[in-house]
């Protein structure tokens, strides 16, 4: 049987991937809504965006909380190291999330057409992935300093390192790429051709920087953490699959058909890359301080968490299917008839 820590980290990685997808759609949509307002194209896509996002914005947030509580629960040492080091970037991420979540609600349910609210909502959407990606950078090691029992973050190393900037850049462009390709799929379902034209262009535009920055980040990772890089090279087939899915998605988007399949390919593209990255990092959660074996919670708690997780999934999966049925795959709702 798989050990608790391995189940734990696999489940959490899967949830982080889930958050990556749903949050990217959400964050990117906020930015596009703001950008479309600035370029006076908002009449084309705003209804589309709010129709999808309104029922699900709170769910997106829970994905994040779930991952975060889960990792602290399964691996309490992460709270100590990351908690101590991430006070400033973590607090800034929290503030941005708070501004974004609440101003989305204020703008959407309260005072519509408030440009300040929309700006806060749109701009924070790009800054949040940037601030959250710092945690991924830290896990590569070399940025967290431990002196005695004091753990702190070496800001100078962090800010002068090309790896951290390439990860930030990758986070931002991936958000825009994932989001625009999802919106293209949603617009095609809604048979909203003017919106489709606009968001398809966004998707095609953001695909190139995504793949370039992904390669750049990979090269910088090789310079920073040879072990991680080598492990990922051993998983070359996953990375190759990722590139292949990207090519298929681009071909579909370029030809302007099967947008649903194109979006699934993009999801698989990120899935392969994300898991190659995660498996390559094994067994470290924070190089070199935390490995998944030496930081795992007690067996009794590990067992309880796995049991609760299975029980929770039995509630969660039907509920999520219900949401999808009502708001994503109900053609009448998507077209705005309900």
């Amino acid at each position: 049987m798989m050990s608790y820590e391995l189940i734990g980290i696999s489940v959490l990685w899967l949830f982080l991937y889930g958050y990556l997808i749903v949050a990217s759609i959400d964050f990117g949509a906020g930015f596009f809504a703001f950008y479309a307002r600035l370029t006076k194209q908002d009449h084309l896509i705003n209804r589309l965006i709010s129709r999808y996002l309104s029922p699900v914005w709170e769910i997106t947030n829970v994905f994040f909380v779930f991952f975060y509580i889960g990792i602290v629960g399964f691996f309490p040492d992460t709270a100590y190291y990351y908690g101590s080091a991430l006070l400033v970037p973590g607090s800034i991420a929290v503030i941005l999330l708070a501004i974004r979540g609440s101003f989305y609600a204020f703008e959407n349910y309260g005072s519509k057409n408030n440009i300040v609210y929309l700006f806060l909502y749109g701009a924070s959407g790009l800054l949040i992935p940037a601030s959250l990606s710092v945690a991924l950078t830290l896990s590569e090691g070399g940025f967290i300093v431990k002196e005695g029992s004091t753990v702190s973050l070496d800001y100078w190393t962090l800010f002068t390192n090309p790896l951290s900037w390439s990860i930030v850049g990758l986070a931002i462009v991936s958000v825009l790429f994932i989001s625009s390709s999802f919106l293209a799929f949603y617009a095609s379902r809604a048979e909203d051709h003017s919106a489709l034209k606009l968001v398809r262009n966004y998707a095609l535009f953001w695909s190139t920087p995504t793949i370039i920055i992904a390669l750049t980040a990979f090269i910088y990772l090789g310079q920073h953490n040879a072990r991680h890089f080598q492990n990922m090279m051993d998983l070359w087939w996953l990375l190759a699959l990722s590139v292949a899915f990207f090519m298929i998605a681009m071909w579909l988007l370029y030809n302007g058909r099967r947008y649903g399949l194109a979006f699934i390919c993009i999801m698989l593209q990120f899935f392969c890359a994300f898991f190659a990255y995660g498996i390559g990092q094994y067994p470290y959660i924070l190089d070199p301080y935390i490995t998944i074996q030496n930081s795992v919670t007690s067996p009794a708690m590990g067992f309880a968490l796995v049991v609760v997780f299975i029980g929770g999934m039995c509630m969660l999966i039907p509920s999520l299917i219900l949401v999808f049925k009502l708001f994503l795959f109900d053609a009448d709702y998507v077209k705005g008839k309900k």
């Binding site: 829970v62 629960g73 609600a105 349910y109 708690m301 929770g312 969660l316």
Partner: protein
């Protein structure tokens, strides 16, 4: 700024986040229940007024949920950012309820999203109302789980601490500690009271402003009666919390009551001030009352503060919080009682102005009571973060940036609260229920 102690600053920041969060969280726990009640009545009696009530409450509720969610996310992360040493040690024991809470939160989020966007979408009318059951259950369940974490910090059990590492952990025993039953039920009951009180206040406010449509009278009746029921249960549970304290956390009760010497037939000290020699002045002493509070009998022995080492005593200022909270609680109970008996009161008016004013105050008073109650509970377990095991000073971050984060969060919460109030009042101003009834074409055909 950085010369200030990170421990003190961490306490201030945690306290601030909780101060904001608990109000919105309590609304999040109680209001779905009230919405369900109104919608259910509307369907059962075929009375469109109650259905509109549910709709209007739901519309405002989303705004408060948004602030509740984001402040809840803050406190969730701050737990590790500000108290990393605590989480490293206690994370072994409290991970289970924290994890369960996120599931409850998940269910609530999913069904609230569905509920808000499916008015008139189902063939059977009751289906839509049933969506609120997972919302209400989810929000109450997350309150329950998170309160067990707090109970654990007050009354830790289910582990052995060896060299700063928890061994031999029983996750369920840690959750079901002696503090759990009273704390959880008190939190739930007071959240329901707060929510019913706020909604009653809104109805009373409309009546005060001269809107005498029957819609507001129905709203007032439903909410005030609910507030009464919830307030009664809150007070009764509060009494059992007193008995819990006497048995398990006597130092907290003793500090709250300025009870220095162990004795039977202990009097209850109400109000007053303490001079520099710890002599109580200007207080009202109610004979035997503390013994009765602690054990239902006048000859119950109540432990005095002198039995505890000075460095492990909670601050004596919690006496004021305790007295104020109890006083507010009694006022909250009295107002709806007066409403029920208003036709027997002098004047015999159906809606006396002073009573409506009192009902408007129910919500704010309940907020004050909840804040005071939490401050009493939290300050009252100083100096411990994990009572008997870990002190607050050993648990905080050592980072020197907490001060700046405190400033940022103060700004954030000010902006959030200000905007939420602005948006909420804008949402309902110039959008009276009467007009909405007309515009929906729902008025007419209903006997008033």
């Amino acid at each position: 700024m950085s010369s200030l102690d990170p421990v003190l600053l961490s306490r201030m920041l945690t306290g601030l986040t909780l101060f904001v969060h608990i109000i919105f969280a309590s609304i999040g726990v109680g209001v779905p229940l009230m919405i369900a009640l109104a919608e259910w009545r509307g369907l059962r009696t075929n009375d469109i007024h109650y259905t509109l009530l549910a709709r209007r409450w739901a519309r405002g509720f989303v705004i408060t949920v948004a602030v509740g969610v984001v402040t809840g996310t803050s406190i969730g992360l701050q737990l590790s950012l500000l108290w990393p040493m605590f989480m490293r040690v206690a994370g072994q024991a409290i991970a289970l309820p924290l994890f369960m809470e996120t599931f409850a939160f998940f269910v609530e989020a999913i069904f609230l999203g569905i509920y808000l966007y499916t008015w008139d979408r189902f063939k059977k009318k009751y289906t839509h109302m049933l969506l609120l059951i997972p919302v209400a259950l989810g929000s109450s369940a997350s309150a329950i789980f998170i309160t067990t974490v707090n109970s654990f910090m007050n009354q830790p059990q289910g582990f052995t601490l060896i060299n700063g590492i928890m061994k031999d952990i029983h996750p369920i025993a840690a959750m079901l500690n002696p503090a759990t039953p009273t704390k959880v039920s008190h939190v739930l009951a007071s959240s329901y009271t707060l929510s019913a009180g706020i909604l009653a206040g809104i109805a009373a406010f409309s009546l005060l402003r001269g809107r005498d449509h029957v819609y507001y009278k129905k709203a007032l009746k439903l909410t005030t009666v609910c507030a009464l029921v919830f307030a009664v249960s809150t007070v009764m549970i509060g009494d059992s919390s007193g008995k819990f304290l006497a048995k398990y956390q006597p130092e907290k009760l003793a500090a709250a009551e300025w009870h220095f010497k162990t004795m039977t037939k202990a009097p209850l000290v109400y109000g007053g001030v303490l001079d520099e020699n710890n002599e109580v002045k200007y207080a009202i002493e109610i004979p035997y009352a503390l013994s009765i509070l602690a054990g239902n009998r006048p000859d119950t022995e109540v432990k005095g503060l002198e039995e505890f080492p000075a460095d492990l005593r909670p601050p004596l200022s919690i006496h004021y919080m305790f007295d104020l909270k109890v006083t507010t609680g009694v006022i909250i109970l009295l107002i709806p009682v007066l409403y029920v008996f208003r036709r027997w009161l002098p004047g015999r008016k159906p809606y006396p102005k002073w009573l409506l004013l009192g009902i408007v105050l129910l919500g704010p008073l309940a907020m004050i009571a909840i804040e005071l109650g939490w401050m009493f509970a939290e300050v009252g377990r100083q100096p411990w973060i994990l009572r008997g095991y870990m002190k607050v000073s050993e648990a905080a971050t050592t980072s020197t940036s907490v001060g700046w984060m405190l400033v940022l969060f103060i700004l954030l919460y000010l902006i959030l609260c200000f905007s939420a109030i602005r948006v909420l009042s804008k949402l309902f101003r110039n959008k009276e229920a009467e007009k909405e009834l007309e515009s929906l074409g729902l008025e007419g055909g209903i006997v008033h």
